[in-house]
């Protein structure tokens, strides 16, 4: 004992594994036996390490506790209400996970020949059909391994289609400023030029601006519907007609599909291709960076360009389409069948719900968002588009509070963490200043929604009387307010035993 005092704390610090390391500590079960050491004798001497790698040295229990403690500090859908707009952080049923975790699926070797893989291929073929039915588009490829990869795939398909039509000069993509940020990024990644289209004050695409921007150079228009403003694009069929008359194609970003599931099909709105986020809408948890899946659906004229693999059925036998059979395909996007686990969760989820269940999802998602929007409006929050009905999400603006009381959207979001509610999306969509984008999703009970409204009402009151309470929040979490600007300007991405000269000291 060196006389130091230990202070009781609600959230004791979790040191880095490197900081807990003590030379010579081992996980007993991982110490190499004599047989392993002998096997190494065959290795040429010049390939052997001179000294052990600089890895942290800990006991197994220390490692288990380290990661368990980190996981306990996590906000997740399983622990907290998570109204993160534009992300659809809904609860994903355990049943879907159980199906995807079946031993026969998890242990399947990726090189299993088609003949021995009929059950899995039949399942994926059925999923292709179910997603086609939901979107109204005839063919679906499950290949893309995330939403943005799905966007990239669909744009590459559209660019290839235009080239084959002798329309190679179509290199511009029009994106409304109410679209998702990934849309312009995917277009640029595809080598296409992005042009932004304005939004009208009541939240629709400015069709006059669209008409002015459409030309013989336009390859596609990318739309999210409902848009990131949480409003349904009312003139969508007119927009699609304008785009098609100009010889361009319509791309649908499926990120907000939860709002229209089982009620409106993107194909009926006039879209030619789209991607779906299985990890938002169809039972895969997300928010930790993956894995996701972004299947693409395509109209008849774009279907030959779909990425591979693609599951075919002939006389009850399932197999993967070959590149020879699909010469116009944009090709393979990743290894093997893509993120099969995510695809299987979507399959199980859709089988659990059935067609009637799909419409219940969108119905409750929209009802819940409208309920919270109404409650917050009553509590003094200003809706960004009060004249519009909220879809599955809605935007409030705190511009007036920022000016009058000095607390901002980000401060409200941080204060919500103290009440055990995850922060809504802040400062997005970019069109609305000091905004919160709130998406309660269909899986929260009315009790939880009432609590969300109550907490946010209380925070509004706190902000008006003692704004510093918000400005310094969170107060009750293991980590207090993070300096995001310093973190972005001076990121410390490596851990060193001795700090590099000139680098800031670790906090």
């Amino acid at each position: 004992m060196d006389g130091q005092q230990v202070q009781p704390q609600p959230h004791p610090a979790v040191p880095l594994l490197m900081e807990d390391s003590k030379p010579g500590r081992r996980a007993g079960t991982l110490v190499a036996g004599e047989d392993v050491r002998q096997a190494l004798d065959d290795l040429p001497a010049h390939l052997l390490r001179c000294k052990p790698p600089a890895m942290p040295e800990l006991s197994e229990l220390q490692v288990v506790r380290h990661f368990t403690r980190l996981s306990q500090r996590n906000f997740s859908v399983d622990t907290n209400t998570y109204p993160l707009g534009s992300c659809t952080m809904k609860y994903n049923p355990r049943a879907a996970h159980a199906v995807a975790s079946l031993a026969g699926l998890v242990t399947r070797h990726p090189h299993t020949p088609d003949a021995h893989n009929q059950g899995l291929l039949a399942t994926l073929a059925e999923l292709q059909q179910m997603l086609a039915a939901i979107t109204g588009l005839p063919e679906v490829s499950l290949a893309p391994m995330g939403g943005a990869q799905g966007e990239l795939a669909a744009l590459a398909m559209m660019a290839a289609y235009h080239r084959d039509q002798g329309d190679g000069q179509r290199t511009e993509v029009l994106v409304p400023n109410s679209a998702h940020g990934t849309n312009p990024a995917s277009a640029a990644m595809c080598g296409l030029k992005v042009r932004e289209i304005a939004t009208t004050p009541d939240g629709d695409v400015d069709t006059a601006a669209l008409a002015a921007a459409l030309s013989g150079k336009t390859a596609a228009v990318m739309l999210t519907n409902p848009s990131t403003l949480g409003t349904f694009e009312r003139r969508i069929t007119e927009i699609a007609r304008m785009v098609h008359e100009a010889g361009a194609l319509c791309y649908y970003d499926g990120a907000n599909l939860n709002a229209i599931l089982g009620r409106v099909r993107p194909a009926d709105m006039g879209f030619d291709a789209l991607h779906l986020n299985l990890h938002k809408t169809f039972a895969t948890p997300h928010g930790g960076g993956g894995p996701g899946a972004g299947p693409v659906a395509a109209s008849k004229r774009l279907a030959p360009y779909l990425p591979l693999p693609y599951v075919l059925e002939t006389d009850g036998v399932f197999r993967l389409a070959t590149a020879m059979e699909r010469p116009q395909s944009i090709g393979v996007l990743g290894a093997f069948l893509g993120n099969v686990g995510v695809q299987l969760r979507a399959y199980a989820y859709l089988r659990l719900l059935g067609t009637a269940g799909l419409a219940r999802i969108s119905g409750h998602a929209v009802l819940n968002a409208s309920y919270v929007a109404h409650g917050l409006h009553q509590a003094g929050y200003k809706l960004a588009y009060p004249q519009r009905r909220a879809c599955h999400e809605f935007v409030v603006t705190l511009a007036a509070e920022a000016e009058r009381h000095g607390f901002r959207a980000g401060d409200v979001a941080k204060r919500m963490l103290d009440f055990g509610i995850y922060a809504p999306t802040v400062y997005f969509p970019l069109l609305v200043s000091e905004c919160l984008l709130i998406e309660p999703t269909e899986t929260e009970t009315k009790d939880e929604l009432d609590r969300l409204i109550m907490v946010m009402s209380q925070i509004m009151e706190e902000g008006r009387t003692q704004p510093e309470l918000l400005q310094q929040a969170p107060h009750l979490l293991p980590i207090s307010r993070v300096d995001e600007v310093a973190a972005a300007r001076h990121p410390v991405l490596t851990w060193r035993t001795t700090p590099e000269p000139g680098s800031p000291a670790p906090a």
Binding site: T397, S433, V485, A488, R489
Partner: protein, 126 residues
């Protein structure tokens, strides 16, 4: 220096300096973006068409394109912003300038100070 400053509806400012144009983002734009953490600048000699993105300014909140008000060639960029993006927030019309452009065309649809102020006013009215 009392040279005239012009503004674009997309929140860039432009100042004539001899044959060249100095370009940056407005105080309003810098405030709306919040603390900048990164500025992506073009290479000297880069040719740009009017209305094309010529630089990117990134804050904790958002990344935003900076559009060239006129076609031209980049003569110089503000290299100090690579390590000190905060200069754009601190002094957007001065030390926080982005680039110097040799114009190949004339400035069109530009706003003067009063016109730009009216635009900002109309956009920030709740």
């Amino acid at each position: 220096m009392a040279e005239t400053c012009w503004f674009t509806p997309t929140h860039e400012w432009v100042r004539q300096e001899g044959h060249a144009l100095r370009i940056g983002i407005t105080l309003h734009a810098a405030q709306a973006l919040g603390d900048l953490v990164y500025v992506e600048l073009p290479e000297v000699g880069h040719q740009v068409a009017a209305g094309d993105a010529v630089a990117v300014v990134e804050s904790v909140k958002a990344a935003s394109d900076v559009y060239s008000p006129v076609s031209g060639e980049v003569l110089e960029v503000n290299a100090a912003l690579v390590d000190h993006p905060e200069l754009v927030n601190e002094d957007p019309m001065g030390q926080g300038w982005l680039l110097l452009l040799y114009p190949m065309g004339s400035l069109e649809n530009m706003l003067d100070q009063a016109g730009y102020d009216a635009l900002v006013q109309s956009q920030t009215q709740p």
